[in-house]
Amino acid sequence: MLTIKLAMRNILGAGLKTWLNVAVLSIAFVTIIYTQGIYLGMNEQASTALVKVYYGGGQYWQKDYDPYDSFSLEESHAPLTPELETFVQQDQATPILCALATAFQGSRIIPVQLKGIPPDQKILDLPTAALNDETEMIPALIGTRMAKSAQLNVGDLLTIRWRDVHGVYDAADVKIVHIMRTTVSTIDASVLWLPLQQMQKMYDLQDEATLAVLTQTVQPVAVTADWRFVPPEELLADIKEMVQQKTIAASIMYVLLLFLGLIAVFDTQVLAVFRRRREIGTLIALGMTRARVIKIFTLEGILNGLLALLVGALWGAPLIWMFARSGMAMPDFVDNMGIAIGERIYPVYGAGLILGTSILVMISVAIVSFMPTRSISHLSPTDALKGKHR
């Protein structure tokens, strides 16, 4: 108690120096929470969106399917297993057939991916019902990115050419029946959604699919080796990693800030032990042990950190609360990063983040506070009183 009292008295007595340390540390503290919250929000928003429109409660993949290798699409199709068929019957899964094709738009040739899906599916939050509208021509559903890049409007016709399972080329016009807004580029950029049955006919792949999306409420079951269940966590691993990489890039800034604050505290401590050695000698003469002096000096450093948390909370909390509530507009370039985020991103500032950051700041401050004071333990009080330091 006395140690705290004296340490507090000392750092408040030090005035400007203390407040400079506190200012830098509190800026680092708030910046860490602020930025981390943005990325946590990004991750959460992107994951939620992906789960809603594409990943569901996980996907069964035909064993050859590899989303990063579009040529795998030629091989990766198979009839659904009886178990998967049951899921589909019970509205607990929806099959999707993926294949490559070429679209001709005026004089442009656009490679596209076709995704066949039952128009009546209830699993994914996609306006696939629009694919029921057309009877004469193959209806196609696209997203705004695709519409923009291929300059397509509702009602437009688009010629596509594809190669069926036997290697025979064929071509047809599809009619754009609906353009959906989505934040998820995976289901939008260069993608045409078609009714599953029509697509199966085009490729002569009766009853076959590339993947099956499960609803979120159902437990996956074991199926034949032809299919593999990919849980949502695995599907989301990519986005998580991408966000993490961006977090690391952003963290360089605040790690630098924190470093600056720590250097300031360290410097104060080193100087204190050096400049205040006569005071140290005096305190020992007045009846303190060296251990107690070390405690006081270390605590002075640590109190810098505590004050920084306090001051940071004072000016940072309203700011962060405001951001979390009203979100922040995302610049266009974020879309190019391939992360599915809305136009506004709502940072997530959880107790874990705030507590974790506080602990990080406090532990690092404690370390740089303590290290320089260790030399007090072999400082002779008589030398200290003379202002000497050996």
């Binding site: 005071e279 003469a285 009846g287 042990t289 008589t382 009183l385």
Partner: protein, 235 residues
């Protein structure tokens, strides 16, 4: 008996090892007893070992050989904690350079030893004001050391040394930085504290003003006690 051997220094030697394996003998076989209530001084030129001797008696340092007993306690047997407690309870230090904590007020400086002793706030306030009365600075309790003169600073240091009513005050060249008027002022104060409170004073000095107040003069030369005389002067 206990009063006669209030401080007992037996065959004390203090050596410092220097560069190239040489040793410097700061104290050389010193023997000394000081009785309770004395107003004594260790006198000698600079470098004769005065500060070293006072620091040993104050348990701030350990002798190389020999033993020191203060108030019945063998100082060499005290561990770090016990010697800190010994200083805290029984010894007041006064330094040539005052050694006040500059960011503390006069009140806070004087209060510090009592904080360590765990006195209550009310007890501390009363004792601080009483000690400041003794040195004539009760009206400067809120000042910072930087706002006071050297003489006033040394008076604050005296108040800090006597606040816990120690049995022994060790004053290392307390007047070295003061002019005659201030020197006499603080010496008057210390003589009065010695007379009225019975506190034992041991000075280190080569200042004639201090020497003129001493009732016993122990002369050190190159770490050896050369003379030890009782002075009967009454001024």
């Amino acid at each position: 008996m206990e009063n006669q051997h209030f401080v007992k220094v037996r065959n004390v030697t203090k050596q410092y090892s220097m560069a190239e394996g040489q040793t410097l003998v700061a104290l050389d076989d010193v023997n000394l007893t000081i009785a309770r209530g004395e107003f004594a001084g260790v006198v000698g030129p600079s470098g004769s070992g005065k500060t070293t001797l006072l620091n040993l008696i104050g348990s701030l340092d350990q002798p190389s050989t020999g033993s020191i007993k203060v108030m019945g306690q063998h100082l060499e047997s005290l561990n770090a904690k016990a010697s800190a407690e010994f200083r805290n309870k029984h010894v007041g230090f006064i330094f040539q350079t005052y050694n006040l904590l500059t960011i503390y007020s006069v009140f806070e400086n004087v209060e510090l030893p009592l904080l360590l002793l765990g006195y209550s706030a009310a007890q501390r306030r009363e004792a601080v004001m009483e000690a400041l009365e003794w040195v004539g600075l009760a009206d400067r309790a809120k000042s910072k050391p930087g706002q006071l003169s050297g003489g006033q600073n040394q008076r604050v240091a005296i108040a800090r040394a006597i606040i816990k009513k120690p049995q022994l005050v060790l004053a290392d060249e307390p007047t070295a930085n003061l002019d005659t008027k201030n020197s006499n002022h603080i010496l008057d104060i210390m003589a009065k504290i010695n007379r009225e409170l019975g506190v034992t004073f041991l000075f280190s000095t080569h200042d004639d003003k201090v020497i003129s107040y001493l009732r016993r003069k122990i002369t050190l030369h190159d770490g050896r006690v050369t003379t030890d005389e009782v002075i009967d002067a009454h001024h």
